[in-house]
């Protein structure tokens, strides 16, 4: 995931992602055209759905929050050249942390305190789910990609077991816990706005978004301003140089995976403390996986990740609207469009680099290859 050495930053983090996005939209447009709809109308509907209708922005930002957390999680691991595919499982287990804290304490402790503990719970449980693959990579050489994928499955199975057999609310059929006590949870923004006398459309956007913004700043600080971040980046760029510099590779890997897992775990505060108010099956809904594309597109920088998260948030929200407006554009079609964007800005993120490099060198180049 190294940045190009040749072209300047504004091209690699600014122009190229936009070009990728544009390509993805072009191809999506072709598909929409083929099924007999007007692509321009479709994109208009999508933008309106994501930003214009009452509450739309709230929904978009609510999705954005999830992507910021998982995107940052993946990005931190990337900085140490670890491919953490386990964001999904880490978020899920983070939810268990939230759920357990709330179920155990919410009858005895004041709601505010329970919320703080629950946030910590999400981080710690997510971290544990990252530490285990991290440890296996660092000490046993098990490849992190394989182990994190497996840990997603283990997390899913564990949660089904617990939610069906152990922490399910007695006397009902759906695999969910009881509601958390009132007073526990992160307030939704439209309710806070009401306290301030502002009228806002209802949306699930809650204080987690603010948390996500603070975490983003913290991420930048950690990676580029601390000794630990320096060691992580050294390790990511060159393990041999890191060893030469006396950096302990295995402990750095484990700590990185702990923080990465903790970041992914924070998805649970947005979903459970901010919206559902209980622990339920499948609340992670693929956010962990999309985080990979978000991190790639955001070039592992918190600002880029914020923009990419916003894009994916808008796609999620606008996509729902698309599904709603056009009878021929189904939910699957929307998934296809999202898939194309992930393909172009994730998997093919560096496809255009050689081209842009060539053009750049031709017109502005000071590329020394003598």
């Amino acid at each position: 995931m190294s940045d190009s050495n040749i072209i300047p930053k504004w091209l690699s983090v600014g122009v190229i992602p936009l070009m990728n996005l544009f390509l993805a939209f072009c191809v999506s447009g072709l598909f929409i055209f083929f099924i007999g709809e007007n692509p321009f109308k479709a994109i208009f509907v999508m933008i309106k759905g994501a930003f214009y209708y009452p509450g739309a922005i709230g929904y978009t930002l609510y999705y954005t929050t999830n992507f910021i957390f998982t995107g940052l999680a993946v990005a931190l691991a990337f900085h140490a050249r670890l491919f953490n595919i386990g964001g999904e499982g880490q978020a899920y287990v983070g939810g268990l942390g939230v759920g357990l804290v709330c179920l155990i304490f919410d009858q005895h402790v004041v709601g505010f305190l329970v919320t703080i503990l629950a946030i910590l719970g999400s981080v710690i449980f997510g971290a544990i789910w990252g530490i285990i693959p991290g440890y296996l990579q660092a000490k046993r050489g098990s490849h992190i990609v394989i182990t994190t994928i497996m840990f997603n499955f283990i997390a899913a199975a564990l949660m089904v077991y617990l939610l069906v057999n152990v922490i399910i609310e007695p006397g009902q059929m759906s695999p969910e816990t009881r509601d958390f006590a009132s007073g526990v949870g992160l307030e939704q923004i439209h309710i806070l706005a009401k306290y301030l006398g502002l009228e806002m459309a209802m949306s699930p956007l809650n204080l987690s978004f603010i948390v996500a913004l603070f975490v983003s700043v913290g991420f930048w600080f950690l990676v580029w301003r601390t000794k630990f971040g320096y060691e992580v980046r050294s390790l990511g760029h060159s393990e041999t140089a890191a060893i030469y510099a006396g950096i302990k590779v295995s402990s750095t890997i484990i700590i990185v995976m702990a923080i990465s897992g903790g970041l992914a775990g924070l998805v649970a505060i947005n979903e459970l403390l901010g919206v559902h108010n209980k622990l339920l099956l499948g609340f992670t809904a693929g956010y962990g996986f999309t985080g990979i594309a978000v991190a790639l597109m955001g070039r592992n920088h918190p600002f880029g990740i914020f923009l990419a998260s916003l894009l994916f948030g808008a796609l999620y929200q606008g996509g729902t609207e698309l599904d709603f407006e056009f009878s021929s554009i189904t939910r699957e079609m929307v998934l296809l469009i999202q898939g194309l964007i992930i393909l172009f800005s994730g998997a093919l993120a560096y496809m255009l680099n050689p081209l842009v490099e060539r053009i750049y060198i031709k017109y502005y180049g000071n590329y020394n290859n003598a």
Binding site: A245, N366, Y367, N368
Partner: protein
């Protein structure tokens, strides 16, 4: 590829002209990469059946020029004539077909294939391997006898010495019909004896009409084997000489563009007490090979101890152990009166705390994190130091002040704190690494291959810095495969061969031949 494609290159042989004609003539070759002109209006003429040397610093444009000749780059303008005819060399295949062979600095051999299989690669003789092998083997044996290219056709490349691998490369080129041979830094991996052998081969190739272009930075070799020599600087050929009418000093001056001190003034200094003692150190590699056997030596304050040897005889492992990168397995090391025993907690961090600095052999893999900015690399390994950080945080302002002084005092160009170190030239990268290690005020400095891939101007500077450090009383352990470097810098020399120390001598009574014999394991002193 146009109509005159010809795998065996017989056409080129058939049209071989008389020896007064030029085999290669490059006219006004210009090649730009963006704004950078790698080759500017280069003219070069090489007579058939001669050995022509090309010297120049890194970045002078030698490689670009040869890559143009070999069809890897297309020149922006200019013409290439082979045997008097204008040709369009637009791919390596084409160039091979035209009878140009290239022996790269890093050999392009399949390590698990036999010598025969490697030598026939690219000209297999027949669709079926077996019948092809017979055809080719005859031809190769002929070539091998003709030119004294002594190889064992049955041997697996992995098991053969470097010298033989190089002969296989030459055979491979000849088998493809090469009449013009380009050798890129061919002696970098050879012992002095092997170099002599190679030069004998080159001479016999020359006698039989093969034209040879030799790219090297070793002026001594230019003087001993070439007929003519071109000096490149800044993308241009700045001078052409007939070798017998020039001198190394003149060549060096033309390469750098100013007078260069090739000899080094060693400060005379009383050596102090031993600061590094190595006792009976043995080491097993990950594959269970004993790479170091009972190594013992000591190193004193104000002394430079050179470790000579052909690459791969245990020097790298020794440096790794001393610098804490590898765990000590057997034996004992005493650093500044602190003793390290096998499997004790010994790592690079601790080595630095004990006053051991390390300029690693491979600055790309170890010494620098290439994508990092200079200011980040200027503290690599020292980032925990209180001068650059407080608590968890790095103090960017202090680091920037530090790196500004560093690039100024050690002449790292460009003087930039924010350029990424990967963009610096080899010499400037090395100066940066050396500067960082010297600035840590070590009392032991381990140096591996300080001038590998470094241009003459920078070499001069690096030697000066090492001498300055020595006169401050720092003990320096110098590992290098450049015998000249070892001989001119060291006070004492030990020679390693196959993981053991095969000899020790004072540098004042060392001769290149004696050292060479020891390096090849022929003689123990």
């Amino acid at each position: 590829m146009k109509n005159n494609e010809n795998k065996g290159g017989n056409e080129a042989i058939a049209s071989l002209p008389s020896s007064t004609e030029s085999a290669i003539e490059l006219k006004n070759i210009t090649k730009r990469f963006g704004h950078v002109v790698a080759n500017s209006d280069v003219n070069l003429k090489v007579r058939t059946g001669t050995i022509h040397g090309i010297v120049g610093e890194n970045g002078a444009g030698k490689s670009t020029l040869m890559n143009i000749l070999f069809g890897l780059y297309k020149p922006d303008s200019g013409m290439i004539f082979l045997n008097g005819q204008a040709v369009d060399v637009n791919s390596p295949e084409k160039s091979i077909a035209l009878g140009i062979g290239m022996v790269h600095q890093h050999f392009m051999l399949v390590p698990t294939f036999t010598v025969l299989e490697n030598a026939m690669l690219g000209n297999e003789g027949s669709m079926l391997l077996r019948s092809g092998e017979e055809v080719v083997l005859d031809r190769l044996k002929g070539l091998s006898n003709n030119y004294g290219l002594d190889v064992d056709f049955e041997a697996i490349i992995l098991d053969t010495p470097v010298g033989m691998q190089q002969r296989v490369e030459i055979l491979k080129a000849l088998n493809r019909g090469a009449k013009i041979l380009i050798l890129d830094e061919p002696t970098g991996v050879l012992t002095p004896q092997e170099t002599i052998g190679l030069f004998d081969i080159l001479r016999s190739l020359r006698e039989q009409g093969v034209t040879i272009i030799l790219i090297t930075h070793k002026l001594k070799e230019i003087m001993s084997i070439t007929d003519t020599v071109s000096v490149m600087r800044g993308g241009k050929v700045v001078a052409d000489f007939s070798t017998e009418k020039t001198s190394p000093e003149e060549l060096a001056e033309n390469m750098v563009g100013r007078k260069v001190l090739l000899s080094i003034k060693k400060p005379t200094l009383k050596v102090g007490k031993p600061v590094l003692e190595v006792k009976n150190v043995s080491h097993e590699s990950k594959d269970g090979v004993l790479v170091l056997k009972n190594i013992s030596f000591d190193l004193k304050e104000g002394e430079i101890l050179g470790i000579a040897g052909v690459a791969g005889n245990g020097q790298s492992e020794l440096l790794d152990i001393l610098s804490g990168i590898e765990t000590l397995q057997r034996g004992q090391i005493t650093v500044n009166d602190k003793t390290i025993l096998p499997f004790q907690d010994w790592n690079s961090k601790k080595a630095r705390e004990f006053g051991v600095a390390h300029v690693p052999e491979d600055r790309h893999k170890r010494g620098l994190v290439l994508p990092f900015h200079n200011y980040e690399n200027s503290i690599l390994g020292y980032h925990r130091n209180k001068n650059y950080s407080s608590g968890f945080l790095m103090d960017k302002r202090k680091i920037l002040n530090f790196v500004d002084d560093l690039v100024e005092n050690f002449d790292v160009r460009p003087r930039s704190s924010s350029i990424s170190s990967g963009k610096l030239s080899g010499g400037n990268q090395q100066k940066l690494v050396l500067a960082r290690e010297i600035e840590s005020n070590p009392n032991i400095l381990l140096v591996g291959q300080p001038t590998r891939g470094v241009d003459i101007g920078a070499i001069e500077r690096i030697y000066e810095d090492l001498m300055k450090l020595k006169s401050k009383g720092t003990a320096i352990l110098l590992v290098s495969v450049e015998l000249d470097e070892i001989m001119s810098l060291s006070d004492r020399i030990v020679v390693m061969n196959q993981g053991t120390i095969v000899g020790e001598t004072n540098s004042s009574n060392a001769t290149e031949l004696d050292l060479g014999k020891m390096m090849s394991g022929l003689e123990q002193v």
